[in-house]
Subunit: 383 residues, 4 copies
């Protein structure tokens, strides 16, 4: 398949945020081309978005159903190879299911679905389809996150004892969802976002990041949800204590009302032989402290980092990479998987899958359950 | 009283840590002079410590009881003005009580006592004695901690919503208490340290710091204690969720097994109008973020800091102050209080009192109670 | 012109560095499409590079001359709109001149030419051509560099007194140019790089950055060049003192043998009313210290930054942008200028021009002259 | 000599800065006792300062000559062991000479004298006297500066190629010397400060620090002095290029008009095998980058630091030490030398000597000479 892959997008019309990010990430490496879209439930928004993106108007659709049908009817050499789903949460499952059944690979934003039940059903659909399904837990695309995972995998930290994961933001310190800010409006609406706002939107990234780096799975948790702003239906702040399978302990807190915080996802992992720390807002550095030795600042692009970190890097050391490049790494891996699948090759790829999506939904639902029982320790369900 | 004050020390013999800190803090400003001591339960250790400190051998005592008695018998112009208690926890209450009853002012290390009950009894003794009692929660002596308190007091943060206080250390990642390390040995021994190791030794500093800065009191908490090292009787790691009176929420975690962490006490306070962050290992800076504005890095010694911060500062900006100077600020305030008390003046001073000690013991006991009930949310007792 | 622009590339074959960066920068925003190239003086390298980039083999050329001729002969709706020149320095002028004369706009890497004389000649050619010429002094594409310029422009720093610009790297601490490392080989070869290695390659970025932010022009300089590695013909380290027109003073030092340094371009500007500091390796932050007030950390994407910084930003605060995005900003502005020029519109755009290239070459030549006269203070020539 | 040493102070009256620092540094370790002083040329200032310091009024003198005479006449068991000189520069030599000739050891602030000639004469006096003479280049007292020196000494950096030393301050951005600010007034007055303000006051610290860490001596330099404020007689900003004996190169710049800078002395040293960086405002950390490896953050108090760093440390890791403690290390070493000298022992001690003072004065004079010749490269004189 010596050609760029073609994709279509569902969601991502004007005033959306994450759709534009997906497009830049997809553009970056010249491997993928946007050729179709159903960018909004508002057909005029969809149309004008398509025009701004220089798309053929015939492939700018008024609905995702129309798009799936029409694209499937195009000749193989023209139709999209995959779809990117960048809608509010409640549409993830229906759109993904529609396109999988129409024979397309899927890249989907997180959290995967509205409920755990829906997530399990989507897992079944993916398995039956034989198609690639990638979930954009984009923070695992950072090279130094991959380096962190390698440190754990290769035993440099010894046995993990404690994990502290934080994701503070401050952008919902005012009730902007009531003032028509689109991003806020759907996230604060249980019908569109699900049973959680803060944990569903960002806490799930912290959980996923911790799991990606350490390989640990949560066994029990205790959650304290707060909705600090009057009239807000879902929590805008959450503090959790975690017990991992095998005995490690964790603290995970996230917030959308922490004044001055921008997008400060960060993690510290403490083991018997070493510790590591990483901050999303300074993604090119990873702190590693071998027991009894000076802290080391590992930096992206150097000869001493692992093959996994090198593979996901585009620039030499000191030429910083950031959010879009990490996001693009998810796309690159998904695209490589699609190319392999199309060629009948079986290979391992490094992107979040439908199984990660199921575990993420289990995390959200368990946290909600604990919070609703006044912070009772609550066990994870079977996945 | 145009003279230096004279003091004696109980504890602080060779191989002790905190005694030497107290002496340096007391020396720094030339206001106080060490003239007596019962430095160890081992008389030879006491004697040789006294010798190294150039003390008159007649005022180096084999026991604190002997010291209290002998010093009380000296003429007013010779005897100590106050005693500094720097022993393991279990001796704080008996030594303090003895010296208060013998008519001396007291400076005492934290945590104040072994139990809350003992703390309340000591409070009664202090009140009856009319003497000054200062508890060395030394971290509140830092100028930029005082600045943080002023920011809260003057409304710059608005209403406080969330407090995150951390105190990770890593020095007990090996079981050094079993290898004769004195500092570790008594802290890990319930008879000498009380019902908690990690929370009693350092978590209590984090609680005190949060209370000092925000003025908030804990109403309920949920605590997860872990003893990661086999054979260790008390917890070496603790994670807590907090509910403050009035609705603010908190996360407090402390650890002695977090590899690579040295003495990383730090706090973040988020309010409706602003946020602040302070780290003990970089004590000359305080981050303040007014809502919607750039973060400000406030630095000790500048014209723009509050009177409270200025008062507790010795050096111009850029000439860093640190741990000993902060510790010395507790001494300076206690000494000023002693001078005022002796002169019959009533003034307000800024040092931790016996009431802080009682609230600290309540914190420790409530945390222990919650942890022992598998992390059940537990209410604070009446103080 | 409701379509993506088409461009061709000269240079940027396999094992090149900057060509790939240009392509990612050009890809990012979906405004530009690579359709042609003469990627290497080695036709096989050019061919296979074109194949990897999914290009039509007919538009992958064995030489830049062939490309200019063939593209000019294509119909308007097919031929390239502009060329990107990413070759070693000695080819910049001939390639640019060829394409300008063939009627194409030009994006060219820096330093602009081999000599100041050549730079002046190219300036004439550009002026006569009526075409857009953009020089990729990419570091001025960073939003917080634009913010820095706005701080100066709007008087927040008062009168500028002192500028300290540094650009330390360490990658030439071994003589890798003798071991076949392509990037090093041409940079260390006077025939391909010109009369300077370190100043020409990176010092010129520091000079350009200082000028972009402050608007100051150098009047005299004193330069100390060192070639620390035996056998190296050009300097690998340079330290300069600067006198600006109007009385400000400067220090500029750059190095390719500073162990541990990656790509640490940074600048501090001190004025009578305020100061600023920016580091390329942490590009989303800008430190600003108003006189007598706390330092402020301005961060990209916030409401409080200038329109200029906002315009060049793609992501919300806390979602870091980096090198490629800054580079892409140069392309976006150049593309906007090309669209405007094609539409007959006159507008101001924010990208480095041929005049910047001339001043950069004057800087390099003056530094070389001073260094060769044992560090004598040397005046800038007329541009 | 099992007793505290007794010292007297010349200078350091009210409104002085450095005198109080010397006293706190001397107090800290309980090894030294202040018993006498001639604190000011104003006898009333001297008297009241002595009173505040709880001194016996009979040992508070109206002049340093009176003090030297009277103290020398006291019995051996009463008179001072040494004098601390904390006056403006022009008095250093006369006071030191007087006390040395009266048989006292001397601790003296820097720069050592007004002129190089005076420095050489003082060196002769010291040598003849057989007394200890310590110069308070206090920044070399920091443990992590000693660690830096050990890294160089033990070859961890290989051959040194480049040194960048900076000392920016901003406190003279207004002409406060004309408004009666005492610290500024004498520093800006050539009669009291000597031929240089900025280099004499702080540049000399940067030179000394570089020499202490690297062992390198300057062979030639080129200096650009500026007096940015109208009416100021001496320079308030200086930029220098350095050539060291043996081929290393250096950049040294210092400033008193760099807005927002407090006391930001810092140094970077680049060698063939590694590099180091240290900042005075964050003194507990030292960055070390072995070639090709991650940067290491060495922190005071850890087991992995050198014996030299350990010896000069009072607190465990994570309990920060700072300016006063470093200053006190100079005193501790001087006191140890005095004790050894008194006991007839010969040992090596680690404090700045009269030879350091001579080299420092040579640096100042060479810089002045170069600056006055429009920045001509100028050779160091024979010391």
């Amino acid at each position: 398949m010596k050609r760029t892959l073609r994709y279509g997008m569902v969601g991502g019309g004007q005033n959306a945020f994450i759709g534009a990010v997906h497009r830049m990430a997809a553009n970056l490496d010249g491997q993928i081309q946007l050729v179709a879209g159903a960018f909004s439930s508002d057909p005029e928004n969809s149309r004008s978005t398509g025009e701004q993106l220089f798309l053929d108007p015939r492939r700018v659709y008024p609905s995702f159903e129309a798009m799936a049908k029409a694209e499937a009817a195009l000749p193989a050499g023209e139709r999209i190879d995959f779809v990117s789903i960048v809608t509010p949460n409640f549409l993830h499952a229906p759109v993904a299911t529609t396109f999988l059944k129409a024979g397309f690979h899927v890249v989907c934003d997180k959290p995967m679905t509205l409920t755990l039940k829906e997530a399990r059903a989507l897992r079944d659909t993916v398995r039956k389809s034989g198609k690639v399904f990638a979930l954009t837990h984009n923070y695992t695309g950072y090279p130094m996150v991959k380096e962190a995972r390698e440190l754990v995998r290769t035993g440099r930290l010894g046995r993990i004892l404690k994990v502290v994961a934080e994701y503070p933001q401050g952008w919902l310190l005012d009730r902007i969802e009531a003032e028509g800010q689109k991003q806020a409006a759907w996230r604060a609406d249980p019908k569109k976002a699900g049973a959680s706002c803060c944990v569903g939107d960002i806490g799930t990234h912290a959980e996923n990041l911790g799991r990606y780096i350490t390989g640990l799975h949560i066994e029990e948790l205790c959650a304290e949800f707060t909705s600090f702003l009057p009239g807000r239906k879902l929590e805008d702040d959450a503090n959790l204590l975690l017990r991992y399978r095998g005995g490690a302990k964790g603290v995970l807190h996230c917030s959308q009302i922490s004044c001055g915080e921008e997008n400060n996802l960060n993690i510290r992992v403490y083991g018997t032989k070493g510790a590591l720390a990483w901050q999303q807002e300074h993604p090119n550095e990873l702190k590693f402290v071998p027991k009894g030795e000076p802290a080391q600042i590992l930096r992206r692009g150097n000869g001493y980092v692992s093959a996994a970190a090198k593979k996901s890097t585009r620039l030499p050391f000191g030429h910083p990479e950031a959010f879009i490049e990490a996001f693009a790494n998810i796309y690159l891996e998904a695209v490589a998987a699609i190319r392999a699948r199309s060629a009948g090759r079986k290979s391992a790829f490094d992107f979040p899958t439908v199984d990660d999506g199921v575990e993420g939904m289990a995390f959200i639902e368990t946290a909600v359950k604990s919070a609703r029982s006044n912070g009772k320790w609550t066990r994870f369900p079977k996945l």
